[in-house]
């Protein structure tokens, strides 16, 4: 736990995160524009849409341009024979240990954005928790899934 895990996730994760951030920011901008239109039509204080625009601008800068990069830099994982070691979190750094013999199943997942960059995420489930490693290269993800599921096939003691 003293040393962070060694592997980083795919660099394209930043782009994928940016796109999904842009999509959600688009909603904020649509609301802002609607407010401007309404302000003109119904003649209420122009400050309301201006404040909305400022908020939209700030969140866009933060979520689209700053956070993805920081997030990527922090995201690390390492798979040992006996356990999986994951680190993530920008302000609160979270490090998790999942022993192989506790792994119940492993999934790979791919949404449309991840598919565009040939990425996939790996989800590891224990009987109590689930852990996700987002945005690995497709072949890395399926290779990792197969490897974990092979390693997890240790004789299970009673649950």
């Amino acid at each position: 736990m003293r040393q962070p895990p060694s592997n980083t996730i795919a660099l394209d994760a930043i782009k994928a995160w940016r796109i999904s951030a842009i999509l959600s920011e688009a909603i904020a901008w649509v609301i802002t524009i609607t407010l401007f239109v309404l302000a003109v039509i119904f003649d209420f204080s122009i400050w309301i849409p201006i404040v909305a625009a400022i908020i939209s601008l700030l969140t866009t800068i933060i979520f689209v341009f700053i956070l993805p990069k920081l997030r990527w830099r922090r995201w690390r994982y390492e798979v040992f024979e006996q356990e999986i070691y994951i680190q993530h979190g920008i302000f609160i750094v979270s490090r998790t240990l999942v022993p192989m013999i506790r792994v119940q199943h492993v999934d790979t997942k791919q949404g449309p954005i991840l598919k565009k960059y040939q990425l996939a995420s790996v989800t590891i489930s224990t009987a109590a928790t689930t852990h996700e490693i987002p945005a690995l290269l497709e072949e890395d993800a399926s290779e990792l899934r197969d490897r974990i599921s092979a390693l997890a096939r240790v004789d299970e003691d009673d649950v």
């Binding site: 736990m1 003293r2 750094v93 240990l97 109590a128």
Partner: protein, 480 residues
């Protein structure tokens, strides 16, 4: 022999009827209120037809419900129009609980609930009413997997039971009473009473209010206070009664592989807890019981189902002196004994985080109340002081310890809880640290075990010394 098709006890018809009736009662009342003036005759006719239908269905569903044991499987067939069959392999059965409600006890019946490890909310199979003798026979037979001959198996079972001294412990009436008086369910009952009253209110005639109001105004404040105290007292007594009914005759015993709990004055419940399903053992010192030195012991059991009105954790013993816990564990769960009192505490520098966390909501409240209703400012002030004290207690009580393969952690929300869990029961370990923590060499750790219904249960210890968090993580890690 149990291989023939068996039916439940005919009393199941009554239970079916009552259950359906209870479910449709609301509808019947609602329709009564809306139709009583104009269509009373038709309404009564309708209700009559519905009642007859319910009775017919109750009888049919009893008639169509059969169970048998065949090929080491419990086979249940049921359903009136759509036949359903459920086969449960003996090997997959995790626990068999016998419950007897008040009605059951009149007919000497039990409800048999059979659970497997699957993560549904209810029991996998529930035989609503079988005679006590059949229920116990069924349980013995289902538990006995490698059995060749029925009768020989039963004899063997009896012999075994005679030979092995069964360890058991029963609650005394005095203790039970004490458990009731300190149960802390007073608040809950008060809330129920308040809600109940507001429901009742509409049935009380208006002039009753006027007269009472006049009466109350004419009374002095002293009598009002007395009335209030008496109300609280009644609630308290109700709380005692509730606890005594629920935990009356509480007996726990242990055999080779499981714990057996029997409890309940009116509704008698018999629970079996397989030892290998116990994920962690907890000792709780509630804020009311702590000054008197009493605690309760509970277990986190994997895969169990939640009945209505049951707690999330399984109570192993409702109340005992703190210094009796050692003996109790020695007797029933020697594999969970640790030096619970000698913990590694949190460093002093973590105190400010605990204080801020517990005080913050009340500071916000203070500001809000101070701004809007300044005459009530004393309420948040009192709460603020209380929360400050609680924050300090939380920091002081938290701690952990490692003994070989056992981890003990202690934390407090309101009650002080000490959990003991086995290394192999912990599903994952997590450590969190933010910038300020890092600067001060503090870290928050979280351990996850399997909780009820297949969901996880998580234990968090906040602001541990970084070195301590590292030692827990290297204890947990399988790497060298």
């Amino acid at each position: 022999m149990m291989s023939d098709h068996r039916r439940l006890h005919p009393a199941a018809i009554i239970f079916n009827f009552i259950k359906t009736l209870r479910e449709s009662l609301f509808l019947i009342i609602i329709t009564f209120i809306s139709f009583k003036d104009d269509y009373l005759g038709w309404y009564l006719l309708g209700v009559g037809v519905i009642l007859i239908l319910i009775i017919v269905f109750s009888i049919l569903s009893w008639y169509r419900y059969t169970y048998r044991i065949e090929d080491n499987e419990l086979r249940i067939e049921y359903g009136i129009f759509i036949r359903k069959k459920r086969y449960i392999s003996k090997n997959r059965i995790q626990s068999i609980d016998l419950t007897a409600g008040v009605l059951h006890r009149i007919f000497k019946l039990v409800k048999v609930e059979i659970e497997t490890a699957s993560s549904g909310s209810g029991a996998e199979a529930s035989l609503k009413a079988v005679s006590l003798k059949d229920g116990e026979a069924l349980r013995n037979e289902l538990k006995n997997v490698k059995q060749v001959d029925d009768s020989a198996g039963e004899n063997l079972e009896e012999e075994l039971q005679n030979e092995i001294p069964v360890i058991s412990q029963k609650i005394t009436v005095k203790r039970l009473f004490l458990a009731g008086t300190t149960s802390g369910s007073i608040g809950v009952i008060a809330a129920i009473a308040a809600v109940g009253f507001s429901e009742l209110e509409q049935f009380i005639p208006d002039d009753f209010y006027d007269e009472t109001l006049e009466l109350i105004v004419s009374l002095s404040i002293v009598i009002l206070i007395v009335l209030g105290i008496m109300g609280l007292l009644i609630l308290w007594v109700l709380g005692i009664a509730g606890t005594m009914i629920k935990y009356g005759n509480f007996t726990i015993s242990r055999n080779e592989e499981e714990l057996l709990i029997t409890r309940g004055l009116l509704e008698k419940k018999q629970l079996t807890i397989p030892l290998k399903r116990i994920q962690a053992i907890g000792v709780e010192e509630s804020i009311i019981r702590q000054p008197f030195g009493y605690v309760s012991v509970f277990a986190e059991v994997a895969g169990g189902s939640i009945d209505k009105g049951e707690e999330l954790s399984t109570v192993l013993f409702p109340i005992m002196k703190a210094n009796e816990v050692e003996d109790f564990l020695q007797k029933f769960l020697p594999e969970f004994i640790t030096e619970r009192q000698e913990l590694n505490k949190l460093p002093k520098r973590s105190k400010k985080y605990y204080l801020v966390r517990s005080v913050l909501p009340f500071i916000v409240m203070l500001a809000g109340v101070g701004f809007f209703i300044p005459q009530f400012i004393w309420i948040p002030i009192v709460l603020l002081i209380g929360s400050m004290y609680l924050g300090i207690l939380r920091q002081k009580d938290a701690g952990y310890r490692i003994d070989d393969k056992l981890l003990t952690i202690r934390y407090r929300m309101l009650s002080k809880v000490t959990m003991v869990m086995h290394h192999k029961r912990i599903q994952s370990f997590n450590r969190k640290q933010h910038k300020l923590h890092k600067k001060e060499k503090l870290a928050t750790i979280r351990l996850s075990i399997i909780g009820i219904m297949g969901a996880g249960k998580h234990f968090t210890l906040k602001e541990l010394d970084e070195e301590d968090s590292n030692s827990v993580s290297s204890w947990y890690s399988y790497r060298e």
